[in-house]
Symmetry: C2
Subunit: 346 residues, 2 copies
Amino acid sequence: MIIDCHGHFTTAPPALGQWRERQIKAFEGSGARVSPDELRIGDDEIRAAIENGQLKLQRERGTDLTLFSPGAGKMAHHYGDAETSLVWSRVSNDLIARVCGLFPDNFAPVCQLPQSPGASLTASAAELERCVTELGFVGCLLNPDPSDGYWQAPPLTDRVYYPLYEKLVELDVPAMVHVAMSRNDAVQGTCAHYLNGDTTAFMQLCQSDLFRDFPTLRLILPHGGGAVPYHWGRYRGFLLDRGRPPLEESLLGNVFFDTCVYHKRGLELLTDVVPAANILFASEMIGAVRAVDPETGHRFDDTKALLDAIPSIAPDDRRAIYGGNALRVFPRLVARLQDKEKEAVR
Amino acid sequence: MIIDCHGHFTTAPPALGQWRERQIKAFEGSGARVSPDELRIGDDEIRAAIENGQLKLQRERGTDLTLFSPGAGKMAHHYGDAETSLVWSRVSNDLIARVCGLFPDNFAPVCQLPQSPGASLTASAAELERCVTELGFVGCLLNPDPSDGYWQAPPLTDRVYYPLYEKLVELDVPAMVHVAMSRNDAVQGTCAHYLNGDTTAFMQLCQSDLFRDFPTLRLILPHGGGAVPYHWGRYRGFLLDRGRPPLEESLLGNVFFDTCVYHKRGLELLTDVVPAANILFASEMIGAVRAVDPETGHRFDDTKALLDAIPSIAPDDRRAIYGGNALRVFPRLVARLQDKEKEAVR
């Protein structure tokens, strides 16, 4: 079973984005709220968006299951206030739940959190609990920069995040650390802010003892970990200089990297440098880059074709990267798949 | 001849840092200025700092010449006002000129610029001109984030930077795009902000036509280009998606990467992915990481030992990376070396 741990509903029906625009404009204009009931999306619209989008590519590429979350850039936590973000998160997460209800064999739900600049994380912990316990979600996205491009929040290792981490541990679900949009003209979104977010979060973890406080907390760094594997020696040296324990001891029991790296040489580096137990297959299709690479004939984000072409990955490691690790990092996925099997037997 | 294009005076005599502290405190306290005349550093102190520091390592590693600039983190452009930054830049640059005067065979000077949040770049252009024409400098450092960790400035491709670029072109010297310190608790300096700065600057260039306006402008991205070579496919795909010309056409005539990547696998990726003509040897010794790597027995920043151990680099490419490219990118270095030869003949 090949599990893609990183997919967003980037092909959502336009009504979703239109509702969000109305929500933002109403709040910015007069502080008014727009009811979620004003958003109407039919099952047929969802089916069309998925069948012509992510499901089509799943089938073409031979992957089985995508961990599916709302559009990451569109989380855009800086807009409005905490209530804006809460309502938007619920709307987005409820739509993801419907996708995964319509296509239970192909998609498992991952939620966004109602983070908001300066807000506590208690609302995020509550929305996580709602999604996991009521709607069967298996993980969440955690934005390390709710200011969306200006890094105004404390690091992820600050105690302000602890209510969320307590809930993640209690529910036994991981978080993917994923920034949202950049509203900073100097810092482009998908090719700068995204990668910087991964690099910055990793370094926050290197400087802290977060995993002493939460030994079972699991965090996934998307986009191959930003700059991290390419600069693995820099981080190893940093820890040595400061007399801190090595990465293997301090981080690699809790931190995982996805494979959203869009050329073979990059993926060779990732799979050479990072232990296979810490790598989760992912494509982020249909996402940051949509073109076909003229050098390979595949889309840039067809990371399965790229990984298939790397012979140095041992068979056991390949199985772990393609799905085994995801089942370990997302244990609720195992329960979900077992429930589905039971239903199929009935 | 092996040229290290990236070295900072991180071992400067303590009097320099003490003067800078007084400068900052006086301005923050009452807006007062501290005269550069209050800084006294003897030639013997400079000799000791260099002979026990960068020169010792040059000899041990078998490199010949370091392009030497003030401490990058210590540029700290956010402190004080434009005048603070101008005086600090002159003090720092004058000290670099003295180092290179005392050790003309081993060091060539690169200046910092008196950037300041919100200030125009005319003072930077003037200080560049002073350093190049009066003191024999061959390049400069350009900070893409004078806010030091919050990215408050427009992108490097904004017209506000054009007076500096005009001067760089007129004087035929390149700029290394290097952030200074991070004063943002969420974004550590050497292992997050530095790499993010490189990634962000590269993406700014990908989005613009800067080099149409300045076809001979040359920019060096330090730290192996941040996340860029590891995510080369992402950038290629981004340009294709937007119908922009490929990297070879749009950027690689003007943008160069240094080799400050502190493990062999990272340098293999760099030298595989980026054309050899765009790579300049560098170590940034004595800098971000000072430990010896127990896996190699060399210091992490001994990039020469790492590159020497990569057999896939063709001999011509190796010569270009180790020095040929630097002579091309820093043409004033050629003139400087020729002057020295003439002096030696006399």
